[in-house]
Symmetry: C2
């Protein structure tokens, strides 16, 4: 295969994770190493919006320390966006503009880092470039705390969010033991349709301090069942720690907590409010004192408690994306494949984007307990290796150091 | 002074902090060292309730590893309680029972670790023992994340909670920069009458990523002023990060967020719900998209992000309490005194319990900005040294290790 010499354009998309910047680090360091093929590395400011508006960070001009700090920075250091590309058959405007930009900046490698919606965008761009026969390699790099991308064992970002949630649950469970008679504490955890993060609360239980009840969006939620579960646990121990997914739905598929009625750019309802609804029910109908914790965006931003496994894999998928692109791959997403071994080991692979876009992988039934209020050992075995190891933050005056780039 | 040979009884009281167990560690290790004077060390299970019910941990029988883990364990490893002692002039029952227990177990040293309400209990016990001329040394050990005890520069527990809050604010502020057009994020922070913890959110700003607006319970809250503040900040940057105290009150002294109407054992209203009330106002009245974060009890339980300064001082106040008791002090609380030096240095002192009990120290006006929506440099200079240093958690399989004791 002929060497495709030119520039690389990388972008971040969708909701941040604490390790999307570690993937950026992987892409950037690998691309800089391959300087016989990749001449310049550009990063879009605010994802595809930056590409359309010609707003780039030129990596060659950046401070090296700032690139190192990517491994410790939450959020999207280069900016993200939620922007839905129309199909090019419907409206070609954005695609024509992208093509113009790619030509102007001699972009031969387009690497796009995101979750489900972003892989859809990435797929559409890959298809269009093939359609117009523009020679470019388009590669998707997975990222989402939600762990809901298909054809990959797990997604970068999940392990760190899971670690933060599990440790927080452990702390709260231990804190609750302080009092002889406690309360019901309801912790609301992110995840629209897939309960992976809520299920991660269960990892706390390996320490002896974890949630008593876990409600996942995969299991239709019954308020009567919830009340009877809480009554039983609280009756036995005068304490009850509950993990609920923000995306809980009842038998009819109606969200328990869609409080605001607002939709985002992709038409998804804004979630939140499940825990306070359930707390009100316990307080008023059952006279059981309860309180709520809504961790909100801290779940995707808690860089101070990253999983080292997650950080290292995030770096690696970034590097692999560059390697696959150089090898001539186009229209694929990098995947993580768990090896069949006693110890946790992974290798990296690829999967066509057209089969990935817009599929949400939920928790299989075998990982959910029979009672529908907890997980099985299979889930613990699956998730526990993903939170292993710490990526100790770089503290200065008790605060963390994050990357800052100049446009 | 004659040596008072006998046993020591230590107890934890009120809401946990991540370092109350570090004070327990200080008490225990110092007492075990003074074994010519202190023969046995007992710890009450669930504070004063354990003392009344004769439920103790005998420290001599405990595993040494578990004692070491106290430095890393949140919550109250020995159990706490919220129990209000009546004045002994009103009802002597509890006091007579305590006296019986003290005699039975040859308790000569009574060390009580807690916040405002607990120092009141400690004071009452000290007074009663003097009244009945029982030879015992009663010492209070300060503890509260709220930092509202008087006559001490700050309280053990505050620094770690402040560090967790400040780092969380930094992460959320950085995360918000991901999007070109953001939201208003309202973070609700603990603190009934004193805004120290809410003010600690400001420490994030030294990194360049911090809250735009801070509302403290010390400043009467006006919803109109809040709306105009948010309109201004959001208009300028399309982002706005707000820290609000759960204890905000309006001009008439009415709580903005007393949602549940429930009171605790001390007659205090249960707080919570300020952020969701304010979020609803922004969404419905101003059509500005907003979301909330309610960290809840994680603020007092986040052992994974302790301040090393705080941990070390907490150990030290525990040790000092034993030393003061042996020296013959009675009816005092150990205090932390900041030295007048360029670097942050402290020494330890004492103050009579009768002047401490039930006084809540709020933030002085000089630490609050003129506009009433932020802090001054004086606050930053005061609080920043308290979050310095990390007490790296002891991780195993990605989870923390906490103490466990046998009764």
């Amino acid at each position: 295969m002929e060497k495709l010499v030119g520039n690389l354009l990388y972008g971040q998309s969708g909701g941040p994770t604490t390790v999307i910047n570690a993937s950026a680090y992987g892409v950037i360091t690998e691309a800089l190493k391959k300087n016989d093929i990749i001449e310049e590395v550009y990063v879009m400011k605010h994802g595809i919006q930056g590409a359309l508006n010609e707003e780039f960070f030129h990596i060659g001009s950046q401070d090296k320390d700032q690139i190192e700090l990517l491994k410790h920075s939450p959020g999207s250091a280069f900016g993200s966006v939620r922007y839905k590309m129309p199909s090019f058959k419907e409206d070609e405007t954005d695609y024509i503009r992208l093509l113009y930009i790619f030509r102007k900046y001699n972009i031969k490698y387009f690497l796009f880092n995101g979750g489900n919606d972003s892989m859809d965008t990435c797929h559409k761009i890959a298809e269009y470039m093939k359609h117009v026969e523009f020679d470019i390699r388009v590669i998707g790099i997975p990222k989402t705390i939600d762990n809901d991308l298909p054809f990959t064992d797990h997604t970068p970002g999940f392990g760190s969010a899971a670690k933060y949630i599990a440790n927080t649950m452990q702390e709260v469970a231990y804190d609750m033991l302080a009092y002889p008679k406690g309360k019901v504490t309801i912790v609301e955890i992110m995840g629209r349709h897939a309960g992976w993060l809520t299920a991660a609360a269960s990892l706390a239980s390996i320490t002896g301090y974890g949630p008593d009840l876990i409600y996942l969006p995969e299991v239709p939620f019954s308020i009567e069942k919830f009340k009877s579960d809480v009554r039983r646990v609280y009756g036995e121990s005068r304490q009850c720690l509950v993990a609920v997914s923000e995306g809980l739905v009842n038998e009819e598929g109606i969200l328990i907590g869609s409080s605001s009625g607002l939709k985002d750019a992709f038409g998804h309802f804004q979630l939140g409010g499940v825990s306070s609804k359930l707390s009100t029910i316990l307080n008023s109908e059952m006279r059981i004192s309860s309180r709520t914790i809504e961790l909100g965006t801290t779940q995707r931003a808690a860089s101070h408690l990253q999983s080292l496994t997650d950080v290292n894999e995030a770096i690696e998928v970034g590097k692999k994306a560059v390697q696959y692109a150089i090898k001539g791959e186009h229209g694929i997403m990098v995947t993580i494949i768990r090896k069949d071994s006693d110890d946790y080991k992974v290798k990296f692979g690829k999967h066509p984007l057209d089969e990935i876009a817009n599929i949400e992988r939920t928790i299989p039934a075998s990982m959910i307990n029979e009672d529908g209020n907890g997980v099985t050992q299979e889930f613990i075995d699956y998730a526990l290796p993903l939170i292993e190891g710490e990526n100790t933050p770089l503290f200065e005056n008790g605060m963390q150091r994050f990357s800052k780039f100049e446009k």
